[in-house]
Amino acid sequence: MLHTFGSTEQQLQPAPAIGYAGLIWRRFIAHRLAVAGTILLGMFVLLAIFAPLLSPYSPSEPDLFNQLAPPSLQHPLGTDPLGRDVLTRLLYGARVSLAVGVLSSLISVVIGVVVGAVAGYYGGRVDDALMRLVDLLLAFPAIFLLLILFATIQRSLAIVILFLGLFGWLYLARVVRGEILSLRERDFITAARALGASHRQLIARHLVPNVTGAIIVTFTLDVAINMLAEGTLSFLGFGVPDSTPTWGNMLNGAASYYTRAPLLTIAPGLAITLAVLAVNFIGDGLRDALDPRG
């Protein structure tokens, strides 16, 4: 399907052949918001990576002689109730936020694609059983389950990432299943089967690659959702443990210092908003670029 599409495009434009990836790239960079989102996210990634070089302060070492300092040249965003530099903590928080968003969504994608592909390909009882399971899990508000879980077990950054991933695959599984259900009746699958392709080859080599677009778009939106979820869980005090600075953790308790240090509340929330906005713009651009009807 992908290749036919690329070739008709080439017939319409006799210009040098650009191939499928080139076509997607062209459409993506023509999407202004997506480019803005990419640049913004790229900045966050750079800031996160070079945090230790950009700031002379420790994100976690308290400085009790410097509590709640107002913004100054030394501390552009002031310090928190323990005297830690807010800007430094924001930079290090970007690491956690991005890591949580990307890694947990990767876990979701793996589970969602496997479950969706198996259900869509085999159909019948397998499909019924898997989709009933998805229905059942969708009947719970994920945030309730996550909060109860994290109130009970020993939390860590890895645990938060793992469980956000384990709870986030349901929607993708449905999407992949739906696509594969219709794809498996196509002639190219019959042809591949006639050539002696095994079930595994059919799924992994012929079916799943044709769903790549939907998977990438859902993955991007998942990244945004998981970044927001981490923020909410940590804000409520049941996310990443306090010892790791995250944007959500920084907001936990910040409301007590509204009058003395409003930046404590404003800055981390603004960081989350901008990062999520960037990811959503990218997702939007990818959806438009990957949509064969676009």
Binding site: R132, L136, L137, P141, F144, L145, L147, T152, I153, T232
Partner: protein
Amino acid sequence: MRSYFVRRVLGAIPLLIGISLVSFIFLHVMPGGPDALLARNSRMSAEQLAKVRRSLGLDQPLPVQYARWFTNILRGDFGLSFTQFRPVSQIIGERIPHTLRLVIPAIVLSIALALVAGIASAVWRYSLADHIISGLSFLGLAMPVFWFGLMLQLLFSVQLGWLPSADMTSGDGGLVASAKHLVMPVTTLAIGTVAGWSRYVRASTLEVFRQDFVRTARAKGLAERLVITRHALRNALIPFVTVVAMDIPFFLSGAVVTETIFSWPGLGRLFFDALRARDYPVLMGLLVYAAILIVVFNIIADLLYAWLDPRIKYR
């Protein structure tokens, strides 16, 4: 229609049993479940512990505990709260009116704003208004809801001093005072949904605008206003109704954050407090309650869809 309804409801029974099973397993098999909580309490002697476990039924095998818990739920009995030593159903019942006082205005506000914004941006597509509305929707979807609530508090309570930041019982209890207490929590609860819903209304209105019957209506010379109100919107809003019905239960999860920020004594705050105290019967009760709401509103959404759209055959 009636047989469709009956079948839909009967079909939900296995789902509801599954929900109860998952809730039970989720809360009992985890490390740090009710048993571990009791065992950690060092003030209790082994003898007392055994007695408490027996009285709570925790000494029975898990399947027996589940069977007992499930039959109790069917009678509306969710057990006793670990912290308040009162029936969970009673505690939840007390909180429902408070949550409804937030959720109902929030739903009405969300629907109204989403319709106005979504339709306006579809009708005047690519206009300045459309760009502003779309921009705000993107912002609304990207902002953490709790942070939006905090920003409202910071601006309207702390800086301007116009609105109370918490404690709905303060003030003289009059209409104006109550309304002032509602403004910020209701707006906070509505913000995320308004953003999502208005995008949805915009998309489905644009979808209908492309269809032949709209072109026909325009071709026969019908005034644009009538084309929109009589023909386009009536069809565009059918899917929106079902989206609203499906999203309504999630106002309850939104209430956890909103009620926590604004110290609103509803179900969300109850959940948060129970979480901190690890009051498992209350948590289980709320979890089951929320899941049932989701299932029920899913059925309502399906029925509404079948009822509103005559093209849908319900077999």
